[in-house]
Amino acid sequence: MSNKWLNKISSFFVSLKSQPMEIVLFLCASFSIIILFLMLFFVAREGAVAFSRFGSDLLFGMRWNLETNLFGGFPLLYGSIMVTFGALLIAIPIGVCTAIFVSEVLPFYLRDPIKSIIELLASIPSVIYGFIGLLLVVPFISSVFGLVSGQTALTASLILSLMTIPTIVSVSGEIISAVPKEYKEASLGLGATKWETIKTVVLPISKSGILASIMLGFGRAIGETIAVSMVAGNQAHTPSSYLEAVYTIPSFIATHMGESAVGSLEYSALFGLGLILLIITFIVNTLADIVVKRGVQHG
């Protein structure tokens, strides 16, 4: 066993010697891994002080107060989850229906143009989404619900859903288009209508891919910073309704990093929150990948 490994390792180094270009390519490919480790290490290092001092209170404490040195992020976690949940509630039905429609129902010559427009929607920067939100959605919400300020969790969810839809559409659209043509033809040949084929053949095969696209959308929504911080009202509390202002973890980091002194307890607490966010997105993205791969094997 050990001999086999030794051989493997030595032949690896021999191959490195004979092909210098291959080493360069290999290093470039490994770059992403190195960066991820560095990212985890450095964000964790800066957040370590806050973690050792507050432990789980960093996530579940109710108060964030500079004077009393209390840093509890629960209202922020609550706000993040609330806004993300609201956004997904809107984005999932719209995104999944769009994906099915574009890849199964729409005539071929319309597919590329529509996909391109959705892709354009994805490329609009978040600061522009925030700007549009302030210009249109905030006054709209405040006039419809008779609120003093239209900067609410609902506003943030609406804007965020627009930003999440393209992710859901492109990922699940890709999976839906990848369903083998033969399967669909077999179903149609047996006399099923197109809708029945979608329902009984296409959707069961692509359901894991659709689930993965929703998870990726979740990852995108919970990490969104700029647009949310512009329209959510930014008040750290645990609101009972979507018509109140909220603060999310990423927008709190964005607005507080500038004022907190490097090395201070608040600075460390912000990195602690960042680490939590990083770990959440790691888990969600990894799960999404596993779900897609398993779905492909089964399909």
């Binding site: 450095f42 729409l106 559409v169 995108r220 700029i226």
Partner: protein, 277 residues
Amino acid sequence: MGSQTKERIFFFALGVPVVICLLAFFWIAATLFTGVGTLNLEFLTTSALQGGAFEMIVGTIYLFLGAAAIAGPIGVFAAIYLVEYAPSGKFTRIIDQAINNLAGVPSIIIGLFGYTFFSRQLGFGISLMAGWLTLALMILPIVIRGSEEAIRIVPTSFKQAALALGATKWKSISLTTLIAAAPGIVTSVILGIARVAGETAAILFTSCVIITRGLPASPLEPVMALSFNMYVQIVARGEPPENVFGIALILFFIVVIFSLVAIILRVYYRRKQPWLH
């Protein structure tokens, strides 16, 4: 007949969300276009010290060009490795997973990391350089994925012809596969630029300031950017959004132009590459 009507109703219902998506885009575009009046050549070319946007525009261009110059080669090399060299083993799967995870890291975390690592640990400070490196991390997964696809669709017979003529593996890849894949690779880089041209969170702590005296003289100086300026003016200074209409519009144009070029290039070359049919 009954099932056909039912089908029509279902398809109609499915079509509604699509229309919502399209309307959303045109609504955003139409809203922005109401601000076209605030744009004129003078605004574009006047220094920010005199109320123009010149340094912000150039700063934004500096930022995304530098980031693309860093991420481009690394991304293409990584893609070549993954398509042409990588053995199908555990480590390759880990690399693949890492690229997906990097693509999914929220930009604010990329910004936090850029600040602690590039600005402080490596000592680049709040600078163009720190911004380049930070944004490069966001472009990288896009370039890798796009280039991978471009390289994968090049027929192996191209490479085999070169190998048969006695070229080494690397030579045959760089002389045939890479050239055939070049349009796809360029497209992926442009797409990456479109993604980061309007990025705010990642440059918030790493490279931008609200006003500079002229353009940065070296990569170690801070820079102005359209997105950063919009954000700070609205959130930190509490200005009404109407006041940054001009900046928003320029940023929107830059991003949409890059995205459109990438999309058109992709559609065009997909049709043009004869070996795909």
